[in-house]
């Protein structure tokens, strides 16, 4: 990984952007959908510039933590505007993509919905952002050991849920997976 210039000028911000922006955009698309993703990216890099002397290197986990806070703010704002509590959980945000496996996504979401929100987010950060427990700890403001143990616990719970025979409501959401060997 190439080193960034000192955090004092525009060149540093441009290099930071070129190294990380697409990953931050992908993170945002996954949480708030395509329409709002670039607003999150813009907020993240504006924050990085304001706090340029605090940005560590490598910066990705710090940037995703900033994005995590921006997404939470976006969802709270949405919830306030709509007066709908469910918006906070992201259920009003369609993050689907034409290329995504819709049935798999429904099954994954049904499993994640049965986990604690932080545990679900740890699984997303592992699978989608491919972060290590130490990086997840930075993003979610957890201790390293908490991130590590919660990841393991979340995987265990997810496996149990996936191994269970499909309940009627889940089967309805993922009809094509009924009867699939566990």
């Amino acid at each position: 990984m190439r080193a960034l210039p000192p955090p004092q000028d525009q060149e540093w911000l441009e290099a930071l952007f070129d190294l990380n922006a697409t990953k931050v955009r992908a993170y945002a698309i996954r949480r708030v959908g395509h329409d709002s993703a670039d607003d999150i990216v813009s907020e993240v890099f504006a924050t990085a510039w304001r706090r340029r002397h605090d940005v560590p290197e490598p910066a990705l986990a710090w940037l995703l933590r900033t994005a995590h806070h921006a997404v939470a703010h976006e969802r709270r704002s949405l919830a306030r505007r709509l007066g709908v509590r469910d918006a906070v959980a992201g259920t009003l945000t369609d993050t689907s993509s034409p290329g995504a496996d819709a049935s798999g996504r429904a099954l994954a979401e049904s499993v994640l919905a049965q986990l604690a929100p932080t545990d679900a987010e740890i699984l997303r950060l592992t699978a989608w952002e491919q972060l290590t427990p130490a990086e997840i700890a930075v993003v979610l403001d957890l201790s390293d050991s908490a991130a590590r143990t919660r990841l393991m616990r979340a995987r265990q719970r997810a496996k149990r849920l996936l191994d269970e025979p499909p309940a009627p409501s889940r089967a309805a959401a993922v009809p094509q997976l009924q009867g699939e060997p566990s």
């Binding site: 906070v88 959980a89 994640l112 604690a116 616990r153 996936l162």
Partner: protein, 319 residues
């Protein structure tokens, strides 16, 4: 396909995220570089009347470290803490019930307690209970409580500063010079900012994650007096107690430790840059509550030193 990682990756809604066009890149960079009013953030540490003082401590943060008066004050407070360190009488079959009240500083809506039961002798496994304590007015559903334990007792695990067993703590020298030598030896290579920072981190781990006895705490405080660069960054009232926040400058240092000199014990820690804060209360109990034992999952983890984890040791889990 029956593991959640594979399932999530196959359903990734951003699998084909495009790079930014030149125009998009320019727009975002221009917006970022344009001066604007920083957003005001609401902070919240639920320690009653001390909130204002706490905010001052956050504001000062690491930038306030340094200076001979701050180091002299550290010396005074640590001396007082070493003198005052005492323990209640305990039996080997009892447990320390440690309540860690955590506030991760997300608009006052990321609060939780972790309660753990540490065997006084270290011969019984530790039990953990975590529960969401965010105010009811916070958005979203509260996280479910969870409890877990480990298959081995602390004394059956390898020695580690990050997960210090009673046997490990008992093995440490109480002589200040010998303890200092041991700490500097174990801190070698553990912190990129140098061994002084490494010693600060190791003592912080032992005070935070173990239950060091009063004689060892006193020795730790005496050692900290000899570590260059440790300063008192702030003093404040917490629940009627005057406590001191200790820090040291170093890029490894993410947390400052808070010590009550009158009790000679750790109060908690707070983030240097983050708003993360944890306060601890400890009391002796005769047993682990049955509901905790009944609800606990056994995590197949033990202390280890695998590549990529904290050099002071951390839990390594299978699965």
């Amino acid at each position: 396909m029956n593991d959640i990682d594979t399932l999530l990756r196959a359903a990734d809604p951003a699998a084909d995220t495009p790079d930014f066009t030149d125009a998009e890149r320019q727009a975002i960079l221009t917006a970022a570089l344009t001066p604007q009013q920083a957003p005001r953030r609401r902070l919240g540490w639920r320690i009653g009347a001390v909130a204002a003082a706490t905010l001052t401590a956050i504001g000062l943060g690491i930038g306030n470290l340094g200076g001979s008066s701050a180091e002299a004050r550290a010396d005074e407070v640590l001396t007082e803490a070493a003198i005052n360190a005492v323990d209640p009488p305990s039996r080997p079959d009892q447990y320390w019930e440690v309540t860690a009240a955590r506030d991760y500083g997300t608009d006052g809506c990321a609060m939780s307690d972790e309660i753990y039961y540490l065997s006084v002798s270290g011969d019984q496994p530790t039990w953990y209970l975590s529960r969401d304590t965010s105010p009811a007015a916070c958005p979203g559903e509260p996280e479910a409580s969870y409890t877990w334990t480990l298959p081995k007792s602390p004394n059956e695990m390898v020695d580690s500063w990050r997960w210090p067993s009673p046997a490990f703590l008992a093995s440490l020298p109480r002589d200040v010079d010998q303890l200092r030598e041991r700490l500097y030896q174990d801190a070698e290579g553990g912190a990129v900012s140098g061994r002084d920072v490494g010693v600060f981190l190791l003592v912080g781990y032992a005070l935070t994650y173990g239950a060091p006895t009063a004689d060892l705490r006193a020795a730790f405080f005496e050692v900290l007096k000899t570590v260059p660069g440790i300063t008192v960054t702030d003093e404040m009232e917490v629940d009627g107690r005057t406590v001191a926040v200790f820090g040291i400058r170093g890029e490894d240092v993410t947390e400052m430790i808070v010590i009550d000199p009158e009790a000679g014990d750790l109060v908690g820690f707070q983030g240097v840059e983050s708003q993360r804060k944890v306060t601890y209360t400890r009391e002796l109990v005769d047993s682990v509550p049955e509901e905790v034992r009944a609800a606990a999952s056994v995590l197949n983890c033990e202390v280890g030193f695998a590549e990529g984890i904290d050099p002071a040791g951390d839990l390594v889990c299978d699965g």
